[in-house]
Symmetry: C2
């Protein structure tokens, strides 16, 4: 369903995928140096495919590369995240507006069911908070699909969602915004069901702004704790 299913293609694709997963989950710390030889051996492949994977991750903005120096895991500082959420607000707002006119009734129904399953997971509170988080990305991606805009889907899916997941893992410990977020999701779906694109866009923008404020506060607390 989601675009980041484990690929079985070339070694470069596998390496790219495993690296992305390690970066997103924090297994590889932000700013950490990525040694080609070491990673190649760990993955049981030569340096060629690994270098191609690094180029790919560079395109996805998950690593920063400097010629003749090497690659490092990207650092998600406040400014970067702020920029990310601003872009997301514009893109996902647009996705919502268009999806309101292009999604089928079936797709909207499936969106409702998705939220139902999220609600059950929240009520169970089975400790697995993060899986609900991944579900949240499912929700957003389904709306992007509803826009029928392939470029938009690619941008949100292949790049931004990875950065978002990274951010989520980083701040997942003290994540308590699941309740209000679910309510906002429901409102968005209802706006879509009524084919009210302008409202759907506005609700999505507010939803993302709210998420950013929540994240921003967490970062502030972290910074203060670190100081």
């Amino acid at each position: 369903m989601l675009p980041y299913t484990p690929e079985q293609g070339t070694l470069a694709d596998i390496a790219s995928h495993r690296l992305a997963q390690s970066i997103v989950t924090g297994e590889l710390a932000q700013g950490q140096k990525l040694n080609e030889a070491e990673l190649a051996e760990r993955f049981g492949m030569g340096r060629g495919p690994l270098r191609e994977a690094l180029r790919h991750l560079e395109g996805m903005r998950l690593v920063n590369r400097i010629p003749n120096v090497g690659a490092r895991v990207v650092v998600l500082d406040r400014k970067t995240l702020s920029d990310l959420y601003a872009v997301r607000e514009a893109l996902e707002g647009m996705a919502c507006r268009i999806a309101a006119t292009r999604m089928t009734d079936d797709e909207i129904d499936q969106l409702r069911k998705l939220l139902d399953s999220h609600e059950k997971q929240i009520n169970k509170q089975g400790g697995k908070v993060y899986s609900q988080k991944e579900g949240d990305l499912d929700f957003h991606y389904q709306i992007a699909r509803g826009s029928r805009n392939q470029m938009l889907m690619d941008m949100l899916g292949s790049e931004q969602y990875q950065l978002l997941r990274m951010c989520r893992y980083r701040t997942s410990r003290n994540a308590e915004r699941t309740g209000p977020a679910l309510q906002q999701h429901r409102h968005i779906v209802e706006a879509l069901a009524q084919r009210d694109g302008e409202l759907a866009e506005m609700l999505m923008r507010r939803h993302i702004q709210g998420a950013w404020h929540s994240i921003s506060e967490m970062i502030t607390k972290e910074d203060e704790a670190a100081a």
Copy 2:
């Protein structure tokens, strides 16, 4: 000034750059197969750096790659361009709104001077229509810079502008929209000068919509001529 200045770094960067240029200018036709060995020899390098360059171009959406099959120049069909312009409208609209609050007076003045030089070029009509086109991209990029959003600048600069340039070269023969476009540019700058972000966004969105309509008609004519 623009992000596509000739790099002097690794061979992979050079290859990526030369390939991007060839693709954008149409020297490499849309959908054309890209043979690694042939290109490597033409550029006087091994296949390793060239493969890395292809990975990079894949990330920029200038080529489509299929594992074990090869890479092809992307095909800009109507749907792809429609998607591109829709995304651009959202992103550049956002850039305008934010730039209205963040650009310095100096930067806005430089924008005015840029438009003055464009006007002179148009009046001269020195055959070099395309150079005005590149200037148009300068205009848009300066506004993106004015937003102070690095991610937005990267997205507009490294990916979308390449596709846009490609589209421009393809349809540059019968390009006559320079006049009205310049007027719209001037209106946008005035909105920025008045720090009216909402107006600036609206004007930019209309500007891009107008450009899309113009392009769309050209494609229709081309399709009819081909049929």
